[in-house]
Amino acid sequence: MGKIRPIKKHSYYQKTAHGGFIATKLNYAIGWGRKFSIFHYPFITACCGMEYMSAACAHWDFDRFGVGMTTFSPRQSDLLFVVGTITHKEAPVLKTVYDQMVEPNWVIACGACAVSGGIYDNYAVVQGIDKIIPVDVYIPGCPPRPETILNALLKLQDKIQKQKQDLRWKIIKE
């Protein structure tokens, strides 16, 4: 065993923690909080669901990034994960689920079908879920690799961090 390295006297930690406080922007702090506590609602209709399950479970495990909490009620979720083909028959269901989510919320379209209708350019399939609900991140691929899903989640976290946070008390005031 090597010897234990002592903490440098003027290390970053000592400097910042010395005064017992940190200085940041409120917008940044709220974004930081939100991006690591995403509760997602999986709306899975097709084969991309297999890749989603793989990305969510132990092999790829997207809980490492703080997005692993799966809820099965849209009312308690921040992120709507639309995975798979959405048909015109199902479109009102997806719209209702989206409308039930509380603000702030985000949507990921996972897989070619959810993004653009994919190979199904026919009478039954909605040509991309952005025809029904607004989408934040698009994941291409048929089906996408789990790494692509992880990358999309990191992109979404970046977006949440950088966006202007809507603050509930401000909304009520206005």
Partner: protein, 160 residues
């Protein structure tokens, strides 16, 4: 092969000119019959000596521009003989009534509803002839060749 020969002989012996045509593409027997005889022939095939007791599939083909325009296809299977058979009957566009086989095979119920949904064939004697896949308010039959390729019938207003 001997099964093919045997069923061909027994059908032509029993029904004579009601059997319009017998083909054997790739070793499967295909029997062409008239629409009004389809129920009788399927009943004969289902019962004991023939014993084609299982309806594997029931579907339809749209040959637009030909006469008759539609063609019903029945796939039956004999569990005791391990033999498959295909029975076809033409359905003209101006007379879309086909007798239902729900009385013989329970699974024909949904198969006929699917054919009704996709092609608009009417099955007389069907207990509950509604659309199976498409939603209420959907107009037309999407697997017909004259259904417009780009036609969409959304149920909710789409965003730009």
């Amino acid at each position: 092969m001997e099964d093919n020969q045997r069923i061909k002989e027994s059908l032509t012996k029993k029904f004579k000119d009601k059997v319009l045509n017998v083909k054997e593409p790739l070793g499967d027997t295909v029997i062409q019959v008239k629409k009004q005889d389809i129920l009788e022939i399927l009943k004969f095939l289902k019962e004991k000596p023939q014993d084609y007791s299982m309806l594997l599939d029931l579907t339809c083909v749209d040959y637009k521009g030909k006469k008759p325009r539609f063609e019903m296809v029945y796939h039956v299977f004999s569990l005791s003989k391990n033999h498959r058979l295909r029975i076809k009957c033409g359905v003209p566009e101006d007379d879309l009534e086909v007798p239902s086989v729900c009385g013989m095979w329970k699974n024909a119920n949904w198969l006929e509803r699917e054919v009704y949904d996709m092609f608009g064939i009417h099955f007389t004697g069907h207990p509950d002839l509604r659309r199976l896949f498409m939603y209420d308010g959907f107009e037309g039959h999407p697997l017909r060749k004259d259904y417009p390729l780009r036609k969409r019938q959304p149920r909710i207003r789409l965003r730009k």
